[in-house]
């Protein structure tokens, strides 16, 4: 974080930076001036039809603003001040700078790229598909083909399952892509049938499905209407993740597609055990309503779902978090920094409690290797 206001309780700090780590949430961003919300860096990968559209109409989402996010962030572009390029360019827009500031010093051997503001959830579905495709071409040309430590995410226009499947199938044999990327705040809960072709295509290609916080599904971000503040939005990402996971479990997604690997990104992880308990308790009384489930709901979390760490919960004492991880299993946890965003978690300090060697290796590398195809050959 940019601001550190509290002295943390004394806990044995085990440096993690000596070993090679996997960072499962890194945000690259197209460089340069945006026109109507789309960076000109994507123009080489867009058809003339969509360039002209962007120039005339821009891109709109189910939220008010022509520029910027629904809630004003607390930092420009929600980024670390020191992550802006020396020439003032956007954080995450230059591979060499990212390598010098993050990949090299933090010994990142495997980095999963999650490009945001990539047209996902745009009101115009055709434009959403075009920007997603362009973003994937740009990831490959300018990032993954240039840097063997990085793996891409297949950005998909998830509200259009057919277009999404086409995009996934186009990358199915490209080992530079390790997952399919969705945002959490969708037009309908993600367990619903309209999204199943996406999961089937991802599972068929052995790609994980990463679901990152944010998105503009159009629904208020709470059951009681729109929150007022950015802090409500940020805290509320865990509510959205709970809701979409509940939907995926109860609709039977994991029963229908048992090979599916879902990674929940940036929504926290300490809530997962409690959600499992609540689901199991209610399911025992209400299971007649969801006959597709063959196992207790919490069991699907144990077999099909992973959680990235950042922004890691910070209880006092910090050991309580380790206990919360005990409940869901250490094999479910994937380390992430969220570079270059302001709430970046430093691998040397984010998990300041005692772990066994196996737990540490799992969280910082081995779990990621099991989740992301094409990462097994990464040294670490």
């Amino acid at each position: 974080m940019n601001v550190d206001v509290l002295n943390r309780s004394a806990a044995p700090i085990v440096s993690s930076t000596k070993m090679a780590i996997a960072d499962c949430d890194i945000h690259p961003r197209p460089a340069g001036v945006g026109i109507g919300g789309v960076s000109k860096s994507l123009y080489p990968y867009l058809s003339q039809r969509w360039i002209e559209h962007v120039e005339a109409f821009g891109i709109t989402y189910r939220q008010p603003w022509e520029k910027g996010a629904a809630y004003p962030k607390n930092q420009p572009q929600a980024c670390r001040r020191d992550a802006f390029l020396p020439d003032g360019g956007s954080p995450g827009s230059d591979l060499r700078f990212m390598a010098q500031q993050h990949l090299d010093p933090n010994n990142v051997a495997l980095g999963i790229l999650n490009p945001l503001t990539s047209g996902q959830g745009a009101t115009n579905p055709g434009l959403s598909a075009a920007i997603a495709h362009a973003t994937n071409e740009w990831q490959k040309a300018e990032w993954t083909s240039q840097e063997p430590r990085l793996r891409g995410s297949v950005v998909i226009p998830y509200e259009d399952a057919a277009a999404s499947v086409k995009e996934i199938e186009a990358r199915a044999d490209d080992r530079e892509f390790s997952q399919v990327l969705l945002l959490s705040r969708t037009a309908e809960p993600l367990g619903q049938r309209r999204y199943w072709p996406i999961y089937e295509a991802a599972a068929a290609a052995d790609l994980a499905v990463g679901i990152h916080a944010f998105g503009n599904g159009g629904w208020p971000n709470t059951a009681g209407g729109w929150g007022s503040y950015y802090i409500e939005e940020m805290v509320g990402h865990s509510a959205s993740q709970q809701a979409l996971l509940t939907s995926m479990i109860l609709e039977g997604v994991f029963e229908a597609i048992p090979k599916l690997r879902v990674v929940l990104v940036e929504g926290g992880l300490a809530w997962a055990a409690a959600l499992g308990w609540r689901l199991d308790r209610q399911w025992r009384k209400l299971k007649q309503e969801v006959p597709g489930l063959k196992r207790a709901p919490s069991e699907y979390i144990r077999t099909n779902v992973w959680f990235t760490t950042q922004p890691i919960e910070e209880p006092e004492p910090r050991m309580h978090l380790a206990e919360a991880i005990d409940w869901i299993g250490w094999d479910r946890v994937l380390f992430a920094t969220d570079y270059p965003h302001w709430d970046f978690d430093d691998p040397a300090h984010a998990l300041p409690f005692r772990m066994t060697e196996a737990q540490r290796r799992g969280v910082f590398m081995e779990n990621a290797r099991r989740v992301y195809r094409g990462s097994i050959e990464i040294a670490g």
Binding site: M1, V3, D4, L6, N74, S184, R185, A187, E188, P189, Q192, G217, W219, P220, T222, A223, G224, G225, W226, G227, S228, Y230, I231, E232, M234, V235, G236, S238, A239, S240, Q242, A243, L244, T246, S247, L250, E251, A270, W271, A273, A274, L275, W277, R278, L279, R281, Q282, W283, K285, L286, E289, V290, P311, I312, E313, E314, H320, A324, W327, D343
Partner: protein, 357 residues
């Protein structure tokens, strides 16, 4: 439970048997409106009649329901637990009507019906004031009207509101509650202006009910972020039928973001976890407990306070069987506090000698 004090049940639900039961408590205009317009009743989809959760099977009568009169509630919910006092939270959907005029008329009728048909008939019963959430000014009028009756011990809101509960337009409700010494109780349920999830309408009851916990998380975030606890230093907020075990993880996340984002909400001067432990209480059922007793106590350590939980059965909803209302694993001293001490501290009016047997 012989070694424990007689419990105070902080969440029981009288059931309106039929909208006709409220007719004597409506004026001529609204009586006629109900009859001529064929208003069929205000049972909401939060607790559909036939749903397994809405009524525990062994408590149902021939109509598939129960809790429709004070004698039955006393026999099923109070006597078996040796309950000394119980707080009635009537979940008839007056708040979900789109017309605030209907909201006011039905709230008034419901509160008067509760006073006459329930509180007058069993001295162990207390109640929450049902308010027309459609309009804060009108809600305040109803609070002021009912508060003179000391058997009303709380203001009742639903977690699914039209605008987030912390927003300033709701503050007159909190001012009135504080002035009368009434906690604000937020119960599962909704005005149904928005889906119960932040990502759209659920397809099943199970999905909706599970998501009530996420709604509570968001409303508590709203109350803290908007500064309700700073503005109203004597106000207590009680979460009812919210689930309990989600609380620590939510508290950790909010407190972390408060460290980074408090400049956005400078009136929140204390860590949210401290505010919650001092000012927020939760009813016991459903606890959504871990399956093993050791984890229950570990979870209580994460909650970080033995003063937050208030005994409840959630009668007649099906949360547990027999009389096993307390999750296995709670140690005896915490259990004692939950049963009576915490409720008596939370609800000032329960200590009122004039109205308490």
């Amino acid at each position: 439970m012989s070694d424990r004090p007689a419990p105070i049940d902080c969440d029981v639900h009288p059931v309106v048997p039929d909208i006709k039961a409220l007719l004597p408590y409506l004026d001529d205009h609204w009586q006629e409106a109900v009859v001529r317009r064929g208003i069929e009743g205000l049972t909401t989809i939060s607790y559909p009649t036939r749903n397994p959760l809405s009524f525990r099977q062994d408590w149902r009568d021939e109509s598939g329901r129960t809790a429709m009169d004070a004698a039955t509630l006393g026999r099923q919910a109070l006597d078996p637990f040796g309950t000394r006092l119980a707080i009635c939270n009537c979940l008839y959907g007056v708040q979900a009507q789109y017309s605030e005029d209907l909201g006011v008329a039905m709230s008034r009728a419901l509160n008067d019906w509760i006073a006459r048909e329930w509180l007058d008939r069993d001295p162990r019963l207390r109640a929450s004031i049902v308010v027309p959430m459609q309009n804060a000014e009108l809600a305040v009028d109803e609070i002021n009207r009912c508060a003179a009756d000391k058997r009303f011990v709380q203001v009742l809101l639903l977690v699914g509101s039209e605008v987030t509960l912390g927003r300033r337009q709701n503050w007159p409700i909190y001012a009135a509650a504080e002035r009368h010494g009434l906690p604000v109780g937020i119960h599962a349920g909704s005005m149904y202006r928005h889906p119960m999830t932040p990502v759209g309408w659920p397809t099943t009851f199970t999905e909706e009910y599970v998501n009530q916990a996420t709604a509570f998380q968001s409303q508590l975030t709203s109350l803290i972020a908007e500064g309700v606890f700073a503005k109203f230093p004597s106000l207590t907020v009680v979460l009812m039928e919210s689930g309990v075990s989600w609380l620590p993880a939510w508290m950790w996340r909010l407190t972390k973001f408060w460290k980074g984002l408090r400049s956005e909400i400078p009136w929140v001067a204390d860590p949210p976890s401290s505010i919650v432990r001092e000012r927020v209480r939760l009813t016991l059922q459903p606890f959504d407990a871990p399956p093993d007793a050791a984890s229950v106590m570990r979870l209580m350590e994460h909650v970080g306070s033995d003063e937050m939980l208030l005994f409840s059965t959630d009668y007649p909803h099906w949360q547990f069987d027999g009389t096993d209302a307390l999750p296995a694993g709670l140690d005896a001293s915490i259990a004692r506090k939950i049963m009576a001490e915490n409720p008596l501290r939370t609800y000032v009016r329960l200590n009122d000698r004039e109205t308490t047997p």
